[in-house]
């Protein structure tokens, strides 16, 4: 359960962006959470709500894009979603595949209200 500190890190970044865009009203922050990031999206939303309630960020929404694990085959270059931890290439059967997505823990964007 470290989602509260993750939520706090997101809000730190939002505050830093707010300082750069003085006067802008932020309405939403968009983050990407990978399946392998070790972060649970529901717990993150819960932590985010707890931190923003009755704060200057009360009206800031959190949008989470959950990113599934993806592998790329080193033989045939096929990229595929790894269901049920299966890492073997579904196209050519090769076992030599590398992780290309699923570890995300990124702040993608912030939306602002236009004046």
């Amino acid at each position: 359960m470290h989602e509260l500190s993750i939520a706090a890190a997101i809000l730190d970044r939002v505050a830093a962006e707010a300082a750069r865009y003085a006067g802008a009203r932020f309405t939403k922050v968009g983050v990407r959470v990978g399946e392998l990031s070790g972060v649970d999206p529901d717990a993150l939303s819960f932590g985010f709500e707890a931190l923003t309630r009755e704060s200057p960020w009360e009206r800031l929404a959190l949008e989470i894009e959950y990113c599934r694990r993806k592998q790329r085959c080193r033989q045939c270059q096929q990229t595929f979603q790894s269901a049920n931890y299966e890492t073997q290439c579904p196209k050519c059967g090769a076992e030599n595949t590398i992780l290309v997505a699923g570890e995300e823990l990124d702040i993608a964007f912030i939306e602002t209200e236009d004046e």
């Binding site: 500190s5 993750i6 392998l36 070790g38 931890y85 823990l105 990124d106 702040i107």
Partner: protein, 223 residues
């Protein structure tokens, strides 16, 4: 509505400090490992066995993390090498800043190896880079062979899985083969060493792994 692209890691600040630490380790030829497992899998026991096996002139130091108590540091200090406890006071993982802070007055130039024992937890430590060269995940035979499937993140990010408490195999329904298969299913390239910190069985394989990877790392950083 306007969308500002931020495109940053949430743990940007941790990443920055971890990269700085990694640079310092490389510069000083310090091989650094981050040991992660559930509480009670045997991280401290493995470190005890490891330190006991090192000659006195080994330049090794240990940072050991817990939520409360200095018990682990006391256990590990008996071997005469520098040991420091990080008590997180509630936080369920170590982060790069804690490591940086607790290294502060140690001269990295005097060290060859730094072993970091993370807080017992299979989830949160996987999100925090400490600047280590490799993560090592421990699993013990009393925990169930499906741990890699339940907590894939840490098994994906670890170079090595140490399977501990082999001496208890006769008493618990645990399939070593299944555990190996599950670990390889989530991380095909993971290395696996089976041992018992109680009997010392298999410990030489772990010590060989340490030696080999320390040398390999040294060769890479001086290349």
């Amino acid at each position: 509505m306007t969308r500002l692209l931020v495109e940053q890691k949430v743990l940007n600040e941790n990443q920055r400090i971890a990269a700085e630490l990694r640079g310092r380790f490389r510069q000083n030829n310090v091989f650094c490992l981050n040991l992660v497992s559930s509480p009670g899998s045997g991280k401290t026991s493995l470190l005890e066995r490891t330190l006991a096996a090192f000659p006195d002139n080994t330049h090794v130091a240990v940072l050991t993390g817990d939520i409360q108590t200095e018990n682990d540091a006391r256990r590990l200090a008996r071997f005469g090498f520098p040991v420091r406890q990080i008590t997180t006071g509630g936080t369920c993982h170590l982060d790069a800043r804690m490591v940086e802070k607790h290294l502060a007055d140690w001269n990295l130039g005097d060290l060859d190896m730094l072993l970091i024992e993370n807080v017992g937890n299979l989830v949160c430590p996987s999100s925090y880079d400490l600047g280590e060269h490799a993560k090592v995940v421990l699993l013990s035979v009393t925990e169930g062979e499906d741990k890699p499937l339940k907590y894939p993140s840490i098994f994906v990010k670890s170079e090595l899985m140490v399977l501990n408490k082999l001496d208890l195999l006769p008493y618990v329904p645990f399939s070593v083969e299944q555990a190996r298969e599950n670990a390889r299913r989530v991380h095909p390239g993971i290395e696996i060493i089976e041992l018992s910190c109680m009997t010392g069985d298999g410990l030489d394989r772990w010590l060989d792994w340490l030696r080999l990877n320390r040398t390999r790392n040294f060769a890479m950083s001086s290349a």
